[in-house]
C-alpha cells in the first residue's frame, strides 16, 4: 500500500482482492466514488473578473474564521475579508485582557458574556438539554474563577439553561449571593415556546426572589436558521435575525404578563438596537385595545410595560439620515430613560461609547443615564 495513497487509516486498509480474491474475476463499474479537491482549487477555473474567484480562493480562511461559530446563515459576515475587525479572539481571555479591553474602550464596568452561550438557541432546537446544562454550569464556574472580579468592575450574567426551567431556577438560587453575577441571561433566538410561556415561570420567580434582572440577549444572523428560509444575502438575515429574535420574544414576554406577574423584576433586551421598539409598542397597543381578553394578565397598555419595565441595550444603534430622526425614534420608545449603552465588543459591528457621547440631541444628563446610570441601577453596580 503506497504511503502516498491518501487512504485514511492506511495501516488497517487492505485491498479487497486480498480479502476476497473472487472479485478479480469480474469487470466492475463503480457508480459512486467521492474524490476530494480543496475548494480553493476551483478558483483557478473561474474568470479573473469574476468576484467568486476570490471568494472561493478564501475558503480556508472562511472555514477557519471563528465567525462561523454562529449559525452560519448565508453569505460572509466579514464580506470575504473586507471587514477585518471581525474579531473573535482565538485565545482564551484572562483578566488582564479584560482590563486592556476596558482601557481600549474607555469603559469602567464590563458585563461579560461568553460566546458559546449565544448558541443556546441552536442547542434548544436540537433538544439537547443536557448539553445546555453542562455548559451553563461549567461556564458559570469558569467565569467566576477566571474572569469575574467585582473589585475590578468585571461581572457576568448567569446563562440560564432555559429549556429546563427548574434547573435554571436552582442555579439562580445557588448563585444568588455571588456578587459577580449581576443578572440572568436568556438567549432569544430559537427559544421555543417563546419566553413568555408559563413553563418559564420558575426562572422569573427565582430571579425576582434573588433580585436579579433578566437580560434577553439576541444572537446570530440566523433568521434563516430559526424562522424563514431562502434569503440570499447576509445583509437580510443579519438585519432581521437579531431584531426578530428579540422582537418576537419581547412580544411573548409582555403579552403573557410576565412584567405584571413579577413586578419587581427588571428586564433588558440586548443587541437588537432600538428602532423596532416603538413600532412594536404601538402595534401591540392597537391590538390590545381590540383583543384585550387575549392578554388577561395585563393591567396597562403594552406600551406602558415596554417603556417602563424594560431596558434596551443601544447596540447596534441605528443610522438615520438626520440626527433628528434618531431622536424621534429614541424618544418614541421611551428613551433615553430606558437605554443602556452596550458595545458588543469585539464583534464587527460593535458600538464604541462615542456612539452615545456624540449624539447631538442628548443632554449631558441624558448621556450619563445611557452610559452608566441606568445600568448601575438595573444591575445594582
Amino acid at each position: 500500500m503506497s504511503e502516498k495513497s491518501g487512504l485514511e487509516q492506511a495501516d488497517i486498509a487492505r485491498p479487497l482482492r486480498e480479502i476476497d480474491p473472487s472479485v478479480e474475476d469480474y469487470t466492475i463499474v463503480d457508480t459512486d466514488v467521492h474524490s476530494y479537491i480543496e475548494i480553493e482549487e476551483f478558483a483557478e477555473y473561474m474568470d479573473e473578473d469574476n468576484p467568486w474567484r476570490r471568494r472561493f480562493g478564501m475558503a480556508e480562511e472562511e472555514r477557519n474564521a471563528i465567525t462561523q461559530f454562529w449559525p452560519g446563515s448565508v453569505g460572509s459576515r466579514a464580506r470575504y475579508g473586507r471587514i477585518k475587525r471581525s474579531h473573535q479572539y482565538t485565545e482564551k481571555w484572562d483578566k488582564d485582557l479584560v482590563l486592556d479591553v476596558m482601557d481600549y474602550l474607555s469603559t469602567d464596568h464590563s458585563l461579560l458574556l461568553g460566546m458559546a452561550m449565544l448558541m443556546y438557541g441552536e442547542i434548544a432546537k436540537n433538544f439537547e438539554d443536557r448539553r445546555m446544562i453542562e455548559h451553563a454550569e461549567a461556564y458559570t464556574e469558569l467565569m467566576l474563577d477566571h474572569l469575574v472580579d467585582p473589585g475590578e468592575n468585571i461581572y457576568t450574567l448567569l446563562p440560564a439553561p432555559y429549556t429546563q426551567p427548574h434547573k435554571a431556577a436552582e442555579m439562580i438560587d445557588d448563585y444568588e449571593s455571588e456578587e459577580g453575577i449581576v443578572g440572568v441571561c436568556l438567549i432569544t433566538p430559537g427559544a421555543t415556546p417563546p419566553l413568555g410561556n408559563r413553563k418559564y415561570n420558575p426562572i422569573y420567580e427565582a430571579a425576582e426572589d434573588a433580585g436579579l434582572p433578566i437580560v434577553f440577549h439576541s444572537g446570530g444572523a440566523g433568521l434563516d436558521e430559526y424562522e424563514t428560509k431562502g434569503f440570499e444575502s447576509f445583509i437580510e438575515t443579519h438585519t432581521l435575525g437579531f431584531m426578530n429574535a428579540n422582537l418576537s420574544q419581547l412580544t411573548s414576554v409582555v403579552m403573557s404578563g410576565v412584567p405584571e406577574r413579577y413586578p419587581d423584576l427588571d428586564f433588558a433586551l440586548v443587541e437588537s438596537g432600538i428602532g423596532y421598539v416603538a413600532a412594536l409598542m404601538y402595534r401591540l397597543d392597537s391590538e390590545y385595545l381590540s383583543r384585550q381578553s387575549e392578554a388577561p394578565y395585563l393591567e396597562k397598555l403594552p406600551s406602558d410595560y415596554l417603556k417602563n419595565d424594560f431596558y434596551y441595550g443601544t447596540q447596534p444603534l441605528e443610522q438615520t439620515p438626520n440626527p433628528e430622526d434618531l431622536e424621534k425614534l429614541m424618544r418614541l420608545m421611551g428613551g433615553p430613560d430606558n437605554l443602556m449603552y452596550a458595545s458588543d465588543y469585539p464583534h464587527w459591528d460593535y458600538d464604541p461609547a462615542n456612539t452615545i457621547t456624540q449624539l447631538p440631541f442628548l443632554s449631558e444628563d441624558e448621556k450619563r443615564k445611557v452610559l452608566s446610570e441606568n445600568a448601575m441601577e438595573v444591575f445594582d453596580l
Binding site: 473578473d49 469574476n50 468576484p51 467568486w52 464580506r79 475579508g81 473586507r82 471587514i83 477585518k84 475587525r85 440570499e232 439620515p321 464587527w348 459591528d349 458600538d351 464604541p352 462615542n354 456612539t355
Partner: protein
Amino acid sequence: MSERVYVDDADNFEDGDRHFVDYNGSEVCVLYLDEEFHAFLNHCPHRGGPVARGEIMPGIDYEENEHGEPPKERYNDCKIITCPWHGWDFEVDTGIHSGTSGGAHRLTKFDVEVESGNVYIRS
C-alpha cells in the same frame, strides 16, 4: 490658500502604494493607483475607522439574465476602498460612499500636486 504639505518623491510610489503623512495633526493617506494619486483623511465618516488601511477592490456590475438565476457578478473598472471596521465602501476616484448616489457620506479628500518630481497634498 490652504497649506501645502510635502509627501514624498514621486519615484517612491509604486502602483498600489499608500503613504501616510501628517496634515495639521490629522493622518492623511496618499494612494498611488493606476498611475493616479489620491489623497484622503484616514478617518471613516461612519465611526472614525482607519479607512485608508482597507482592502481596495474593483467594483462589481450585476448582469441580469433571462432564466431566473441570480445575477452574474463581474468586476468593473471602478476602484473601491473598504473601511476595515464596518465595511463602508468608498469610490477611490470620488471619495463617495458607493451605496449613496447623493454623496451623503464621503471621504475627506485632499488635492494632490506633483511638482518637480515631488508629491504634495493640500486641503
